[in-house]
Amino acid sequence: MSTSTDWWTLAVIFGLAGVSVLTRCFFFILDRPWGLPDWAHRALHYAPVAALAAVIAPEIVMTQGHLITTWHDARLFAAAAGAAWYYWRGGVLGTMLVGMAVYLPLHLGLGW
């Protein structure tokens, strides 16, 4: 069930490709050496983890723009199981597989 291609979306995708180039090459695009201001250096410690957490939190605890009010939601248990696996064994792949192993039975079996 492929949706049709949207030109605006494609343009943003090319923008994201530009962001990949910009961030990966940030300090060697220009020839002369330069550094970041101190506040920006300090922000680098927190901004990446904050950005990702801000993206995923609503995906885990909200439905249609509202905080869920039930424990009967497969996403909560899957995310908790994934995080537990990460701290036990590490690795993106294992986290995803363990999370999905919890998610699919709850979601498909119990309809959570």
Binding site: S2, D6, V12, T23, R24, A51, L52, V55, H107
Partner: protein, 246 residues
């Protein structure tokens, strides 16, 4: 750059590729699930393929998907992608002395293709930038061998995922695999107490501020988390660099 035979002929190219091979399995599997997740979230085959081929950054691809479908404006999606990719800015500072002797297009191509694992493997193998032409060529070949392997694994398996996704019903909710991989990445970045706190504050703020238009809750959350951590650093007299070593 792996397109150039003079780089590929050096023994370090094969060495880099060989040492990357075990990790490439994991990258390939992650690429597979990202391919499935992109299509299941509603991107068209062409859009998903363009994402895979050009963006070439798993976490920023996955972070962009929910924003597309929440109708976020382009600048919010790009700003989120930039923040998610900020770790590469730090890597680029480290890689600068290894690459500055090259012409700009060549160092930018090398930089663009060097993602997390290639960077980690390369700087682990060569802690000090070479200062002879032979040494520099060897280092570039090793770097290229590593990212050649990750590029093939990621791109190849992402396309397999995009192809397979159309066979899987939407109701299975496989797009959630994308969120789960981001859970792992958040855990991997939450290496100090203040970073854990940054993640918690940003997550809670994103939920509380969800009603803001244009998915501005993401931008607000990053700002609130960073400022709160700055304030706590001062308050508790913490040095973030030392915190990171713990």
């Amino acid at each position: 750059m792996f397109l150039s035979p003079s780089v590929r002929r050096l023994p370090q190219f094969r060495e880099g590729a060989r040492q990357m091979a075990p990790a490439a399995l994991g990258i390939g599997a992650w690429g597979l699930m990202t391919g499935v997740a992109m299509v299941k979230a509603g991107l068209s085959t062409l859009e998903s393929s363009a994402m895979t081929l050009f963006v070439y950054a798993g976490s920023s691809q996955l972070a962009a998907i929910p924003l597309f479908f929440a109708g976020a404006p382009a600048w919010v999606i790009l700003a989120t992608g930039f923040c998610v990719n900020l770790r590469f800015v730090v890597f680029s500072l480290h890689l600068r002395p290894y690459l500055m002797h090259m012409p700009r297009w060549r160092r930018m191509l090398n930089g663009y293709l060097t993602a997390d694992l290639s960077y980690a493997l390369f700087t682990g193998r060569y802690p000090i930038p070479a200062d002879t032409p032979e040494g520099r060529a060897a280092q570039e070949a090793y770097l290229a061998g590593g990212y050649f392997m990750t590029w093939c694994a990621w791109i190849g398996m992402s396309f397999v995922g995009i192809a397979l996704a159309n066979l899987i019903p939407q109701s299975w909710g496989l797009a959630f695999a994308g969120v789960l991989s981001l859970v792992a990445i958040v855990c991997s970045m939450a290496t100090s107490r203040l970073r854990v706190l940054a993640a918690l504050i940003a997550g809670a703020t994103a939920v509380l501020a969800y009603a803001l238009p244009l998915r501005l809750n993401i931008v607000v959350s990053i700002g609130v988390a960073v400022l709160a951590c700055f304030w706590l650093e001062q308050r508790l007299g913490l040095d973030p660099d030392k915190e990171d070593d713990k």
